[in-house]
């Protein structure tokens, strides 16, 4: 299958980026050096092309009902311009994907009396699956809502780091500086109307900017800072302990519910949604396994798929993500362990190429923000 290309594929290639396949997309993994890109975001500012992320728009009189019944968080808490992190679960409560749900801000054509319009951001390659899911349930439940897959209408960039407010404020207008975390507004960048949100996946202050696909080059070029690839995006999110869909949870290879995955805060059991009843039972009975952070005490790097053993050498869990933390200079990892071993400070081993390396369960985020 041919890889999907972000609008700036050729621009990134010209800049000397290396590429990787991710979620069916051909994306820049590294522009200069993962370490340099990572450090730019932690210490100043960097920009990521995340146009591989999916975008689904949901509008109409029953848009709120449809969103509420297919996501675990409570969309009725969103005012115009608010967003929330949420999960999409199946009947069993297993996470199909995680997402940010935006209730779009008001504009000239939409005032407070209109029905809310939502835009949610499934992970790369999940757009078709989520479009189908939304339209099928809409039809089953006989709801009046319009669902559009707008993934290839919107490019998405993330400008992240402590200096991002200065840069984004200069280019998008100072109104963006008034945004609280998880708030969004419409703003013009280089004459293009963009959705600018104070969201991100790095743990730093920052903005995510959705812009029309055909304005992508102008908007990207407006932010003069270190371009960053998916490599640095991964090391930054691992340092924060943030989940990666398809890796730290996956309905096929790593089936997990939100409580096991450490995102129980996205589950609002007082709302009705697919998976709610199963998750109520999980909450009552507790979880056998928990998502943990790990720091290696011996030399080595823990990687996805490596086994975790206890003091007796018995396999008790596995790593789902791991890297050498560029900020800490330590090997850090994320994975699942029996809940009784999930307490920070607990000693376990990571099996690296047949050899046990000592590790310690560590509270996430690994960085003291």
């Amino acid at each position: 299958m041919a890889l999907r290309k972000p609008p700036l594929r050729a621009v990134h290639d010209g800049r000397g980026a290396k590429f990787t396949e991710f979620g069916g997309w051909d994306m820049p993994v590294e522009f200069d050096s993962i370490r340099d890109e990572h450090t730019a975001v932690r210490e100043s500012v960097g920009i990521f092309d995340v146009s591989h992320m999916s975008e689904i728009r949901v509008s109409g009189p029953d848009a709120t009902a449809l969103m509420q019944r297919l996501t675990s968080n409570d969309v009725t808490r969103l005012d115009p311009g608010d967003s929330q992190y949420s999960t999409i679960t199946d009947d069993e409560g297993t996470i199909l994907d995680d997402t940010v749900v935006y209730r779009l801000p008001l504009d000239d054509e939409h005032d407070e009396d209109d029905d809310p319009t939502y835009l949610f951001i499934p992970n790369a390659g999940h757009d078709e699956q989520m479009y189908d899911r939304w339209t099928e349930f809409r039809d089953d439940w006989d709801l009046d809502a319009t669902v559009d897959d707008v993934t290839e209408e919107w490019a998405m960039f993330a400008v992240q780091g402590p200096d991002s407010p200065d840069l984004v404020g200069d280019e998008a207008g100072s109104a963006v500086l008034d945004l609280s975390k998880f708030q969004a507004t419409w703003a013009d960048v280089e004459g293009a109307r963009c959705l600018v949100a104070r969201t991100g996946y790095t743990g730093e202050d920052g903005f995510e900017i959705l812009c029309p696909w055909d304005a992508a080059e102008d908007v990207w070029s407006a932010f003069d800072c270190q371009p960053c690839g998916l490599g640095a995006r991964d090391t930054l999110r691992i340092e924060m302990g943030f989940l990666l869909s398809g890796q730290d949870f996956d309905p096929e290879s790593e089936p997990r519910n939100p409580y096991e995955a450490g995102v129980g805060f996205t589950v609002k059991l007082d709302t009705e949604f697919v998976g709610r009843d199963a998750l109520a039972t999980v909450k009552e009975e507790g979880i056998d396994e928990s998502f943990v952070g790990l720091t290696l005490l011996d030399r080595g790097v823990a990687r996805a798929g490596y086994e975790l053993t206890d003091e007796d050498g018995d396999v008790v869990g596995h790593v789902t993500s791991g890297t050498m933390s560029p900020t800490l200079g330590e090997a850090v990892a994320l994975g699942y362990l029996p809940t009784e071993l999930a307490e920070p400070g607990t000693r376990v081993n990571v099996v690296v190429r047949g050899r046990e390396k000592r590790a310690e369960v560590t509270e996430t985020p690994f960085l003291n923000q």
Binding site: G16, K18, V29, E30, S33, I34, R35, G231, D234, T235, R299, G300, V301, R303, T323, M324, P326, A331, R353
Partner: protein, 127 residues
């Protein structure tokens, strides 16, 4: 992008180099290889006195994004290990043919060095 390929070294298709010095030869990975890997964060090497075999794994180099096996260009006995790499694995990126060397090996069959790729042949491979 052009990569350094010193004329006086011999090369493996898997991007390791060896010197052809009298006595022990030096082994490392090429400039092309370090660039492909990106930031090297960890190197696992055999110890002094261990045997390595031509074409077989002798260690592992890990960058932030990838784990890569190292294949020995020669058969023989390890006479020195670059222990600086344990604390400064980034030397592999900074100076792959110099301070980023990995092993010194006393080759058991010196003639086998002639069968490795020449600098020109290796240049053709990576272009």
């Amino acid at each position: 992008m052009s990569f350094e390929v010193p004329d006086d070294l011999r090369y493996m298709e898997s991007h390791e180099w060896t010197s052809t010095d009298d006595g022990s030869v030096r082994i490392g990975i090429t400039d092309f290889a370090q660039d492909e890997l990106g930031d090297v964060v960890f190197v696992e090497l055999p110890g002094e006195g261990d045997e390595v075999t031509h074409g077989e794994e002798f260690g592992v180099v890990e960058s932030i994004k990838a784990v890569s096996d190292l294949y020995s260009p020669v058969s023989g006995t390890v006479t020195a290990v670059n222990e600086d790499l344990f604390d400064q694995p980034e030397l592999v990126n900074e100076d792959p043919f110099g301070d980023g060397w990995m092993l010194e090996v006393d080759p058991s069959d010196r003639d086998a060095l002639d069968e490795l790729l020449s600098a020109d042949e290796y240049r053709d491979q990576i272009e």
